[in-house]
């Protein structure tokens, strides 16, 4: 028995039909008494049959390789995948928003500094707000309100250079003499401002124009025949305004009104 087990190639030769008839008879005789040898003979036959299909071995290797490859990957639960996707999207959106804001801020800042006098003012939404809007996006609401308020205050009281130098230094027409108001008027928002004048020689219609500090006409071309006119500041928002009194085509006087 041991002879056969030690000479294991006999088993292989038996499977491959390479034993001589005498050797085969001897082996089978031994196998009939030895269950271990019978097991080995069957197993060897099974191995030969099972490994005969090389394609199947390749398929098996491919399956194992696929499973090993996938095992090396970290499999995340679906909720983590969703959460990660959302976070990535939010981050990307934030970055894109920041980029757009920065770009807008630069453009608007340039417009604000160089062309602030030619930007048309939209009713109900002053143009200066558009220029400051991107700056305060990261501030708290209270800080943002304070910031906006400061900017509003700065903007509405910013003197208009082309008008400012005319305030108080006017070419007076000999036909009209302006009594009031003074060149620089400061008043509250619910005040009355008296405009009064006297005709010196002949009657010439007097017109009053009030513009804000951005050059927009607020009160226009009133042909007045009386010697006075009372302006209620209730209809005007807080800020700096310029008034111009003309007699016909000629400027009589110019001044500023600061409503606070």
């Amino acid at each position: 028995m041991n002879d056969f087990l030690t000479q294991s190639h006999w088993i292989g030769k038996f499977t491959d039909n390479e034993l001589t008839p005498e050797e085969e008879i001897r082996l089978l005789d031994q196998a009939s008494h030895n269950p271990l040898l019978r097991n080995e003979l069957r197993l060897d036959r099974d191995i030969s049959e099972l490994v005969a299909d090389y394609d199947r071995i390749q398929l098996s290797e491919a399956i194992r390789k696929t499973m090993k490859h996938d095992e090396s990957k970290v499999i995340l639960p679906i909720y983590l995948k969703i959460a990660a996707s959302v976070m990535i999207l939010v981050t990307l959106a934030g970055m894109a928003g920041l980029l757009i804001h920065n770009t807008n801020q630069n453009i608007r800042h340039a417009l604000h500094t160089s062309q602030r006098f030619i930007i048309p003012r939209v009713q109900g939404f002053p143009d200066f707000l558009t220029s400051i809007r991107p700056v305060n996006t990261t501030l708290t609401p209270a800080k943002r309100r304070e910031f906006v308020q400061n900017n509003i205050d700065n903007d509405i009281y910013t003197p208009r250079p082309e008008y400012e130098f005319l305030v108080g230094t006017v070419t007076r027409d000999i036909s009209v003499f302006v009594i009031s108001p003074v060149p620089r008027v400061k008043c509250k928002s619910d005040s009355l401002i008296l405009f009064s004048w006297r005709w010196m020689s002949c009657f010439v219609p007097v017109s009053l124009e009030i513009t804000d500090n951005h050059g927009h006409l607020v009160l226009n071309n009133m042909q007045m025949t009386d010697e006075s006119f009372i302006l209620s500041t209730k209809c005007l928002a807080r800020g700096l305004y310029y008034y111009k009194i003309s007699a016909g085509e000629e400027l009589v006087t110019m001044g500023s009104i600061s409503i606070y």
Partner: protein, 193 residues
């Protein structure tokens, strides 16, 4: 990139052993197998073994010209794997308790032939021990499996003659047999004495 395969493509790909098809099948159908195995306290390794054996069983059947797949591959794989796992559980139960338990095999056309199931498991076992063998044995047996002529094997492996190749082959097969017979899993399903 995720490609969607039709059932016919998958069957054909599996029969030809295409890696892309196997990857797709694994990605799409393995969770199903894992749930079958997991439902009866099986672990990931068990699920992988069952999945492997299931694909081998289907491959063997596809090789048979008379076989025709009348359902989707997923349904078929599900049935095959469920039966494989049930029989494996039954076998474990028998080994543990020596009980005359019987698994109700009422799976109709999807029920497995005992030999098919055994062959798939034996094949996996042989394969497992084959990869653990010394390199020269693996190389020699691979040539042998590929049906490379013995003189060619002798030339490639620098053996003096074909007789020596044969002797080495028998030695390697003997080694493989010993490894398999010493495996506890071998005793689970082999009806050897």
């Amino acid at each position: 990139m995720i490609l969607l395969y039709t059932n016919e493509w998958l069957v054909k790909g599996l029969a030809e052993g295409k890696e892309s098809c196997i990857k797709y099948i694994y990605r799409e159908y393995f969770p199903m197998v894992r749930s079958i195995v997991g439902a009866q306290n099986g672990n990931l390794e068990d699920a992988e073994d069952v999945f492997h054996d299931g694909l081998i069983v289907i491959y063997n059947r596809l090789k048979n010209k008379e076989f025709a797949l009348n359902s989707s591959l997923k349904t078929y794989l599900f049935s095959v794997c469920r039966n494989l796992w049930r029989r494996r559980c039954e076998r474990k139960y028998r080994l543990l308790y020596g009980a005359d338990s019987y698994v109700n095999d009422s799976e109709g056309c999807y029920s497995l032939d005992e030999t098919e199931e055994e062959n798939a498991e034996k094949f996996r076992l042989y394969k497992k021990h084959f990869v653990e063998m010394p390199d020269f044995c693996k190389e020699l047996l691979t040539y042998y499996i590929r049906k490379t002529p013995l003189p060619e094997i002798a030339r490639i492996m620098n053996y003096k003659d074909t007789e020596y190749v044969k002797a080495r082959k028998y030695y390697c097969k003997n080694l493989l047999r010993k490894k398999i017979l010493s495996d506890p899993e071998c005793k689970q399903f082999m009806n050897y004495e």
